[in-house]
């Protein structure tokens, strides 16, 4: 019995489809279907648009993925992104150089992440509430400070234009930046001691704490990092559309990000998955959104479809990683 078990498990593993695999397959199928049946899908302009959209979504999702691995959730990302970038643009209009302004904005964003992290790690407010309330606080503060919804980046910033339209060997810079951030986070998660701490904390926070891991500093720095990644996504967006619309906060972007993470196969119970899952999810959601836009679905119906898919993904997650009545915590919502 004990001898046969590993062999069986091994054989089982060979045939079992991981969620990641399933999602890759669906993404491929969708891509092929769209390529075959949608007229403009394979045009170069559309593919570029797809990639650029994917760049922002993917960057945000990489940050969110890192948080979810540590059994957290960060609903402040979009708020931090729009307010941080808007703050930087506003600073540059007040006479700062754009480079300086971006750096100061980064400090503000890191500070927001620090507050969120402290609320979660030290005040022990459940992450979902801390970030929900922080999002509303950050955005409310931002709206008080900036009179207009849309802030345009100053013209003539070379590197910003390059992010928006430059290519390297035919690949847009924005995609390269996404790839860079993803690679950094992936290496960080898998190779550094700190990354292993994140996995351990996500797997079982109490055990990690009892073991003597610095769970609180780990959690706090996670949220600071996530805020900075969101800020990077915001800069990326400013480069792409030469400005930032703070009303983006009211859109469902943050749920798209969650959709990417959950679809990609990072369980919300933490401790599993990695950047690869995020990238797979990003590709699927990017293709989906792009296809729906070409098919002229309204914004609302796109939301509906995306949410139903997210719900299905969550249900799948619940079936694959079911809640165990004997070990799950009561307060775990």
């Amino acid at each position: 019995m004990s001898l046969r078990e590993p062999a069986q498990a091994g054989r089982h593993r060979r045939f079992r489809l991981t969620q990641e695999g399933v999602v890759s397959l669906i993404a491929l199928t969708l891509f092929l279907a769209f390529a075959l049946f949608l007229n403009n899908f394979m045009s170069q302009g559309n593919l570029l648009t797809l990639l650029k959209n994917v760049a922002i979504l993917g960057t945000l999702a990489v940050g969110m993925g890192m948080i979810v691995v540590g059994r957290g959730i960060d609903l402040t990302m979009v708020a931090v992104m729009v307010v941080g970038v808007a703050f930087a643009i506003w600073l540059s209009s007040q006479g700062f150089g754009f480079g300086e302004a971006v750096l100061i904005g980064a400090c503000l964003v890191a500070f927001c992440g620090l507050i969120t992290g402290i609320l979660i790690a030290i005040a022990e407010v459940p992450p979902i509430f801390a970030t929900l309330a922080m999002a509303s606080i950050v955005y409310g503060g931002g709206r008080v400070a900036f009179s207009s919804d849309v802030l345009y980046a100053p013209a003539g910033i070379g590197w910003l234009v390059a992010i928006g339209s430059g290519t390297f060997l035919g690949v847009p810079y924005s995609i390269l930046i996404l790839a860079g951030i993803a690679a950094l986070v992936a290496l960080f998660l898998s190779l550094t001691r700190f990354g292993r701490f994140i996995y351990a904390t996500g797997d079982n926070p109490h055990a990690a704490r009892t073991m003597g891991l610095p769970t609180r500093p780990v959690q706090i720095s996670q949220y600071v990092l996530a805020a900075l990644i969101a800020y990077a996504a915001g800069i990326l967006m400013t480069g792409l559309v030469s400005g930032i619309n703070t009303r983006l906060y009211n859109s469902t972007l943050i749920y798209d990000v969650l959709l990417v993470v959950v679809l990609g196969g990072i369980s919300l119970s933490g401790g599993q998955g990695g950047v690869r899952n995020v990238l797979v999810g990003t590709v699927l959601v990017g293709i989906l959104i792009n296809g729906m836009t070409i098919m002229n679905f309204s914004y609302t119906s796109q939301n509906l479809i995306k949410s139903v898919i997210l719900l299905a993904a969550l249900a799948l997650d619940a079936v694959i990683n079911p809640r165990d009545e004997q070990t799950s915590q009561s307060g775990d919502i």
Binding site: A123, P126, A133, Y139, G140, A315, E325, G331, I333
Partner: protein, 704 residues
């Protein structure tokens, strides 16, 4: 008595600091924080908001309260079950649309429109409930997504029917009454809310469903293991929530008569703030209707006041967000630290100066080793025999730590059987005239065991005293009982403040926490006859037929209480200043009484009894096993007469056989010794005693 001593004595008589700890054990203490917050927000806004206290404002506010209140109540139910529902705002929007469409456009009656609206709510709730309850998905994310889904449905449907809604108006007096009507000056929906709140309060606090809901939220695993259908309970919570939200939407539709495209947006944040602020715990198991309504009122006053002060929407959201974070933070901290706070303040020692002890260096109480001659019974088998009793056939009955009553067979008491199982900690025992055994069971109450071994509950509840904060009708530690000649059972309850295993905390307090209770089997009534006794322990009816003797352990004295005769109802001291802590009292064959001292007084503890603040510091700062405790290592058995004169004593000073004694029983020329911490009983031959004497006969006469 010195002046400072009198002051200390006065301070502990006038300021009852045990009340604080008892207040903290009350469930409604949780409501103190939301109530304070409510008072605070009123105090802040009343002076700066124009027309805050005018009746029109209040009437308008109560109308809005009816809508938000229903949503918050719905969310409360879900949160008590351990979940959360963020889709309330979207469900609200869908409900309003349905109500307006069915009433305005389709022209249904009020009943029809209401049914359709509640139906839509139920469907939304069932979707959430199925996902969260049956599939056991995570409530927060799931309802976050259904929030978007329901909102998208609303966004798709609403533009198509909005003109129809505005163009038509329903001809329904009932609809107008619901929207515009007032009863006793307040809007109709407010009374609907009041009625629903009342029903929900009764269901949650007294109904079976409410208890199950609280159980599922409080300890999901235990509820599951106890056989509660967790999945369907959670499912039903979501359905009820959405139906209540839909009812709120129906009220809104009746009041406003139209809808905008942003209706219900952000409502989840409002409702969530209200519930959490009210003290409905995230993660479930705690919460009440009153708290939810207080939270709702807080949020409503806050948001309408900010609106009246013309503060822009984002700032409003900012303030709400700050309030939410603060509320969640306080809630998390409160739940986490409440028991620590309770631990720190619950034990509240009081002044208890003992009279000087009767000498043990001369007279009858000089320690000796007479108990060393006793022979052990049931060595290693017995475990915690607090008391023992004999029937006329010579069988020995003892309790055990496992809740059993064991019957040992004479004459050598080597064979035994489990006579009955009580499930608690059997303590004092007494036989009535019919041969039934009355048993005090610690933690449970007074029980009766028939000669066939059937256990029945006699009483576990006495009359509630009016002045006590804690509910003292429940029995925590019934200790020893005896039976009066008329068949009434009189028994002591050692303490109403501590469980049995915390007896040393009661010793540390040395307050009159105990009482003497009488149970009348004829009328099946239970009355407390004497209260504020300091750990009343052994009880024994006197030979005079009109009084009982009882021991107060931490006061080291024996009292006599008259239940009949000319002195009926009076209390007399019999012995004061015992050198140890008296436990059980039982009759002796020569018309005197046996008394067990479970331990000896020590000078250090005696001194500390005069220093309550010292003992409080000790209880707070030192771990329990380092407390000054009554010495229960060495005690004795002594004999005293009706006048309270001590005649002789039996010690085991070397501590080899029976150092610690809680009870003793004389039977046919032998004295049997019990100790609650001993693994045996002892049998000591009494050569001079009546070799034919049986305790039961002494009470009820020889069988004819």
């Amino acid at each position: 008595m010195s002046l400072s001593e009198s002051l200390v004595r006065l301070r502990y008589r006038v300021l009852p600091d045990h009340v604080l700890g008892e207040l903290l054990t009350k469930k409604w203490v949780d409501s103190a924080i939301p109530f304070a917050a409510l008072v605070l927000v009123i105090a802040i806004f009343a002076p700066i908001v124009p027309r805050f206290f005018q009746f029109g404002t209040i009437s308008l506010l109560s109308g809005e309260m009816a809508e938000l209140g229903l949503v918050v109540l719905g969310l409360t139910i879900v949160m008590i079950s351990g979940g959360i529902d963020l889709s309330v705002g979207s469900t609200f929007a869908l409900a309003v649309t349905t109500a307006l469409y069915t009433m305005n456009v389709m022209g249904l009656s009020l009943g029809g429109g209401l049914a359709a609206t509640l139906g839509v709510g139920a469907v939304c709730g069932a979707i959430n409930g199925f996902m969260v309850g049956i599939l056991r998905m995570r409530a927060f994310l799931t309802t976050l997504v259904t929030l978007i889904i329901f909102r998208s449905v609303f966004d798709i449907v609403f533009p198509q029917i909005s003109t129809d809604i505005v163009m038509n108006y329903p001809e329904s007096a009932a609809w107008d009454f619901l929207g515009m009507g007032h009863v006793l000056g307040l809007p109709t929906p407010f009374w609907v809310l009041a009625a629903i709140a009342l029903i929900l309060h009764i269901v949650l606090s007294r109904g079976r469903y409410g208890w199950r809901l609280l159980a599922v939220g409080g300890a999901r695993r235990s509820a599951h293991n106890a056989g509660i259908n967790v999945r369907w309970t959670v499912f039903s919570a979501y359905v009820i929530c959405s139906v209540l939200v839909a009812l709120g939407g129906f009220h809104f539709a009746a009041r406003i008569g139209s809808a905008a495209s942003d209706i219900g947006a952000g409502m989840e944040l409002q409702a969530l703030t209200a519930t959490v602020l009210g003290g409905i715990s995230l993660g479930g198991g705690r919460g009440s209707v009153a708290k939810a309504l207080m939270g709702a009122l807080f949020v409503l006053i806050l948001s309408t006041s900010l609106l009246a002060l013309a503060i822009p929407g984002p700032v409003n959201a900012l303030i709400l967000g700050l309030v939410l974070v603060t509320a969640v933070f306080l809630d998390v901290r409160w739940v986490k630290n409440r028991h620590k706070l309770l631990r720190a303040v619950y034990i509240s020692p009081t002044f208890n100066k003992l009279p000087p002890a009767i000498s043990t260096t001369e007279g009858p109480l000089v320690p000796n080793d007479r108990l060393r001659a006793s022979e052990p019974i049931g060595l290693g088998i017995m475990d915690g025999a607090e008391d023992a009793i004999f029937d006329r056939e010579g069988n020995l009955y003892t309790g055990s730590r496992h809740g059993d009553i064991m019957r040992w067979f004479g004459p050598d008491y080597t064979r035994y059987e489990i006579f009955a199982h009580t499930g608690g900690a059997p303590q004092g025992m007494a036989f009535d005239a019919e041969g039934n055994l009355a048993v005090c069971v610690g933690g449970m109450g007074l029980y009766q065991v028939s000669p066939q071994g059937e256990v029945t509950l006699l009483t576990a509840e006495t009359n509630r005293s009016w002045t006590s904060i804690a509910d003292d009708s429940v029995m925590k530690l019934a200790d020893d009982c005896d039976i009066l000649p008329d068949g009434r059972i009189i028994f002591s309850e050692a303490t109403v403040r501590f469980e049995m295993h915390d007896w040393y905390a009661d010793a540390l307090e040395s307050r009159g926490n105990g009482r003497l209770i009488v149970y009348d089997p004829k009328t099946k009534t239970t009355r407390t006859v004497l209260s504020n006794l300091i750990f009343p322990n052994g009880v024994c009816t006197s030979y005079d037929g009109e009084s009982v003797l009882f021991a107060e352990s931490w006061a080291c004295r024996i009292n006599r209480y008259y239940y009949a005769g000319p002195k009926k109802g009076r209390l007399e001291r019999v012995i004061e200043g015992l050198p140890g802590y008296p436990d059980n009292i039982n009759r002796a064959s020569d018309g005197t009484y046996w008394l067990a001292l479970m331990g000896s007084r020590t000078p250090a503890l005696d001194l500390s009894l005069e220093m309550p603040s010292f003992r409080r510091r000790m209880a707070r700062r030192v771990s329990q096993d380092a407390w000054l405790m009554p010495n229960l290592n060495t005690g004795c058995v002594l004999k005293f007469n009706e006048k309270g004169e001590i005649l002789e004593s039996f010690w085991d000073l070397g501590g080899t056989r029976h150092p610690m004694i809680t009870s003793m029983r004389e039977h046919r020329g032998t004295l049997y010794l019990c100790g609650i911490f001993n693994n045996r009983m002892g049998a000591l031959k009494l050569p001079g005693a009546d070799q034919d004497w049986c305790g039961v006969d002494s009470y009820w006469g020889k069988p004819t």
